[in-house]
């Protein structure tokens, strides 16, 4: 029943990630904390390198490094949430500080580990064609968890993302849901690592949502458009990876970026046309 080949595995993994990443991204973008995605992705890298290193040093350690990656991302998300509240004035420093520490530690772990560079490239830039059955289980599990949490608490999270103070006033336990959002982010990032890679997970989370924001008139529609853009991007990424051997993260993110920039240009043009028409009508009226 589970005898599926690498093409099918990569397509399934990509479709799942193309769904969850833009969803969580939309919340982050309207909450104005899109930078967190990148820093958490880098923390995940630290977890993965720590996992691989542990596997090198201890013979009995046989755990998929994706799980240590998730654990680190989870811890990192809690730390970021804490720092966001304690720092006040300079809270935007929290993300780059965590990011720098995470990448630094990863680099040190990598240089200690005996593994060659090619293994790391898969984690850094994504290599969807090397998704194994157990990885697919991990991704599936994480997707179900993320979708379940979103379905259950989507309304509260949306409220919170748009206006934290209003949400608090309306009696939503802000702290709990902030942590929940951070946990969701950790889930999505650790799941998307193999499809787009650590360095590009933030991109697949942010770019479709940023593009969708330009078109959508409501949050639900924004979610829908973001998912469509996300799926289109991963489709391009997987195709490029299987047919041309381009790292899947690269193809995916370039497509998403292209859609975003095309959106921006188109919007600028539409606005310009409308302004000209308005001006013309005003002129006719006068």
């Amino acid at each position: 029943m589970f005898d599926i080949n690498f093409v099918e595995r990569s397509i399934i993994a990509a479709v799942l990630i193309g769904l969850t990443a833009p969803l969580i991204g939309s919340f982050l973008v309207v909450r104005r904390s899109s930078l967190i995605a990148d820093s958490l992705a880098h923390v995940t890298l630290t977890g993965v390198t720590a996992g691989v290193l542990a596997g090198n040093l201890q013979a009995f350690w046989d755990i998929n490094p994706l799980y240590t990656g998730f654990l680190f991302a989870f811890a990192g998300s809690l730390i970021i949430e804490r720092v966001r509240h304690t720092y006040g004035g300079f809270q935007e420093l929290a993300a780059p500080i965590l990011m720098a520490a995470a990448v630094g530690l990863s680099a040190v772990f990598m240089s200690i580990s005996a593994d060659g560079v090619t293994e790391w490239y898969g984690y850094l830039f994504g290599s969807v064609v090397s998704v194994q059955m157990e990885d697919l289980w991990f991704i599936g599990l994480m997707t179900i968890a993320a979708l379940g949490l979103l379905a259950a608490f989507g309304r509260e999270l949306m409220f919170l993302s748009f206006d934290e103070e209003m949400a608090a006033a309306a009696g939503i336990p802000v702290k709990v849901f902030n942590v929940l959002l951070a946990v969701l982010l950790a889930i999505v990032i650790s799941a998307s690592m193999q499809v787009v890679g650590v360095l590009l997970a933030g991109a697949l989370i942010t770019l479709p949502a940023a593009a969708a924001m330009q078109w959508a008139s409501g949050f639900k529609r924004m979610l829908l458009i973001a998912v469509i853009i996300g799926e289109a991007s991963v489709a391009a990424g997987v195709t490029g990876s299987i047919l041309f051997g381009i790292a899947s993260g690269g193809g995916t993110v370039v497509t998403a970026a292209f859609i975003l920039f095309a959106t921006l240009l188109l919007r600028t043009w539409i606005n310009w046309k409308r302004n000209r028409r308005l001006k013309y009508e005003r002129h006719q009226g006068a």
Binding site: V29, G89, A107, A203
Partner: protein, 292 residues
């Protein structure tokens, strides 16, 4: 000091020490301007430039004689303008401009690397830095870049300072905000790109942001912030250099980790001491925010 007999180690040390000055100095401005992620965006763009160079060099043989870092510098320079444009374009969601640029830059970089078939050890050195890859020419170029950047920082110190604290007030006082912004972005871009050989694309921002963030917590005046930042930066660079030479650890990684440790120690010490000195600029910024 037996290791200094090797030429490349001497150059690496010289470059490291120069970067240990300019990167934290730029970092102080970056941190006070509250745009710390800009260094990340720029360094990731440098990766795109490097990758583009590698790809082009697989067709144009003469290009392979040049150091890809120069293409990286060119790319960061161009993108510093793009970031300023996007900041205005996104208006309500200004902070999006940096993740967007960063994401597009790495995505494009990865595609170029794939096309150039460049997933090898060289790329790894660009990503995480290496003290083994520098030569005399790099040392000279980075020396010139450092000197010019420091000179520009000195010449435009007042303008940059003013702009960092309060852009609107600076504009009212007749400072050409946009031109100074562009100048600053340009200097930062060049500093970022020249730090890549030692620190690596992914770790440049560590030496820019972390020492400045630590200095922000201990310094009592703005000028002393520069001094602290440079001291922290140089400490980290030296630690990274020796760790890389004696224990074969990643130089960029060690520099980042040591910078982070310095910052952590300072934060903890502050907590233990339980007293926070007055930091006039920080207070000013907060009251500004409260007034809005």
């Amino acid at each position: 000091m037996i290791f200094l007999e090797f030429d490349f180690l001497r150059y690496a040390l010289i470059i490291g020490l120069m970067i240990g000055v300019v990167a934290p100095v730029a970092g102080v401005f970056v941190v006070v301007r509250k745009t710390p992620m800009i260094a990340d965006a720029m360094s990731h763009t440098a990766l795109t430039g490097i990758a583009f160079h590698l790809w082009l060099a697989s067709y144009l043989v003469w290009l392979s004689e040049w150091n890809p870092l120069y293409t990286g510098i060119l790319f960061t320079f161009i993108v510093s303008f793009l970031i300023e444009y996007l900041r205005r374009r996104f208006q309500a969601f200004q902070e999006l401009s940096i993740p967007v640029v960063m994401a597009s830059a790495i995505g494009l970089g990865v595609v170029f690397i794939s096309l150039a078939d460049g997933f090898n050890n060289d790329l790894f050195n660009y990503l995480f830095g290496s003290i083994l890859t520098v030569n005399a020419a790099d040392a000279v170029v980075i020396g010139i870049i450092s000197a010019v950047s420091l000179l520009l920082f000195l010449l435009f110190y007042k303008e940059l300072l003013f702009l960092a604290f309060d852009e609107e007030q600076a504009a009212v006082n007749g400072i050409p905000v946009q031109r100074v912004n562009l100048l600053f972005a340009g200097i930062t871009a060049v500093i970022v790109a020249s730090s890549i050989s030692i620190l690596g694309v992914l770790l440049v921002s560590a030496l820019i942001t972390l020492p400045a963030a630590a200095a922000l917590r201990v310094a009592s005046t703005f000028k002393s912030m520069f001094l602290y930042a440079v001291v922290f930066g140089e400490t980290a660079v030296l630690a990274g250099f020796f760790a890389s030479y004696y224990y074969d650890l990643s130089s960029g990684g060690t520099i980042a980790v040591v910078s982070f440790l310095i910052w952590t120690i300072i934060v903890l010490a502050e907590k233990v001491a339980g007293q926070r000195r007055q930091r006039p600029w920080k207070e000013a910024k907060w009251t500004d925010k409260a007034n809005q």
